[in-house]
Amino acid sequence: MAPLVDVGDLSFRYGTHQPWVLRSVSLSVPRGAAVGIVGESGSGKSTLIRVLCGLLTATAGAVTYAGRDIGDWLARHPRQFRRDNQLVFQSPASSLDPRMRVRRSVAEPVRALERRRVADDELASWLTLVGLDPSVLDRYPHQLSGGQLQRVAIARSLSVNPGVLYADEPTSALDVSVQAQVLNLLMDLRARLGLTLVMVSHDLAVVSRVCEQIVVMRGGAIVEAGPTAAVMHNPAAEYTRALVDAARAVSLAASRSAS
């Protein structure tokens, strides 16, 4: 089957005299897959998904979505493309406009992309889908906890029935106890809605729980990519090995087996 998202020799920089942020990145995401992009700061992982969902334009190389170049998508069917490719951000506190009630923030993508008003029961159904009480609609962001905000942000993305959900460090600003809830929600939604999930994280443990494919990035390039189990147990690249070691050194599993 043809991949849903296909990236070939993608390079990106912010301007002609700026350093390269992405260097010849190639990767493909099959429909329905969960792919985790792992890397440390400066690896280009967040930039990569911003190019994939059309927020940034590739400097060189090709990116196709559903077999068609995304430049072409954005020129001819920009709203269809944006509906299909939604993004969830790292910081729940900053991903909603603090001066808008949740109702308006959640309705925003539908109003912008489907050009229609949204009825209250529709809004309520999206909130229920992510495990929130519809009463949240009348709240302002500062009245919600980090976990609730991230659920609202996920509801907002799902309101336009995306094909791919890109998640940029969706749990790294959350407490461990809340992180588990949000990860479960993402896994559950993926299973129920048949979403394709592309998740960026610095946390190998998070990615290896959620995704069956892992892409390791460093300095704007892909160091290693493959099935999660293979990358975790049998890393081919030295950098991946260092990353896995560092993560394992502070993992609870390691301490349990070591003791």
């Binding site: 927020l55 944006r82 993004l87 406009d97 603090p98 925003e108 912008a112 500062h142 907002r156």
Partner: protein
């Protein structure tokens, strides 16, 4: 949700609002009533000291009632400040927003242009303008407006850029919203407090500048009365009647202080970062 109710009402807001209220009231009341006609001369009671029967704040060297002069002067300050600040507000904020949203090259150019405009000596420009256009309130207002546009732009750029960097803006962009929509719906409401505070501070500046220009003789002309003019005329008799300088001086200081306190108080109340965060 918990902290909201207990948010403290800042003292400076109350005091500032009260002082500004007095100033505005003085100006507005003068439209319908003043103790004397502004041009009437009580020749018998020239240079009457404050507290004289019938002249609460005394009279000047021509026998004009000082309270009347102050009230009518307040009206003129209010007019000039409101017109020039409002006229500067819209273009200033727009230039600021567009600068913030522009690409690097345009942003740098516009920012530097703003810097140059800010570096120009405002009073001198106003004097030149007065020579070209003739003195008067209109000239004062044009000069102050031109002076304030880059100031307003300057204070808009920074906060607007901060908001533009937030993720909800990226989310709106990912949702296909254009720059104009984002600036008006997301950025403007979020920087509103900054603009309101700045407007209050610019009001104070406008009052001072208006007084300075009319003191120098390039602002309002008789029969209009302005605080700066009252100062100028009191100069000649400052030895005999120091109260003629002191009274408008104190009133002007108190008014400017009022606007500054109001600005500070508004900042404290409107700042969205006021929401308390738990310390871990």
């Amino acid at each position: 949700m918990h902290s909201r109710a207990r948010r403290r009402w800042p003292v400076q807001l109350t005091v500032g609002a009260a002082l500004v209220g007095v100033f505005v009231a003085l100006g507005l009341v003068s439209l319908v009533w003043t103790p004397y006609d502004v041009e009437s001369l009580d020749v018998a009671a020239r240079l009457a000291p404050p507290g004289t029967d019938g002249h609460l704040l005394g009279t000047d060297r021509l026998g004009r009632d000082v309270l009347t002069q102050i009230m009518v002067g307040a009206r003129n300050s209010l007019l000039v400040a409101v017109v020039s600040t409002t006229a500067a507000l819209v273009p200033g904020v727009l230039v600021g927003l567009m600068t913030a949203a522009s690409g690097r090259a345009v942003r740098e150019t516009l920012s530097r242009a703003t810097d140059v405009a800010l570096a120009l000596p405002g009073i001198l420009i106003a004097l030149v303008l007065a020579t070209a256009l003739g003195p008067g309130n209109a000239t004062t207002m044009i000069a102050i407006t031109a002076w304030f546009v880059p100031v307003m732009a300057r204070v808009t750029i920074g906060p607007a850029r901060q908001i533009l960097a937030r993720e909800f803006v990226e989310a709106a962009r990912a949702g296909g919203r254009g720059t104009w929509f984002i600036l008006m719906r997301h950025v403007l409401p979020n920087i509103g407090p900054v603009i309101i505070v700045q407007t209050s501070l610019l009001f104070a500046s406008a009052i001072l500048i208006e007084a300075a220009l009319s003191y120098l003789g390039v602002g309002a002309q008789r029969p209009t009365t302005s605080w700066g003019m009252v100062f100028n005329e009191a100069q000649a008799v400052v030895g005999e009647a120091p109260s003629l300088v002191l009274i408008p001086g104190v009133i002007m200081v108190v008014t400017v202080l009022g606007f500054n306190l109001l600005g500070d108080g508004l900042r404290a109340v409107l700042d969205p970062r006021q929401t308390t965060k738990a310390v871990t």
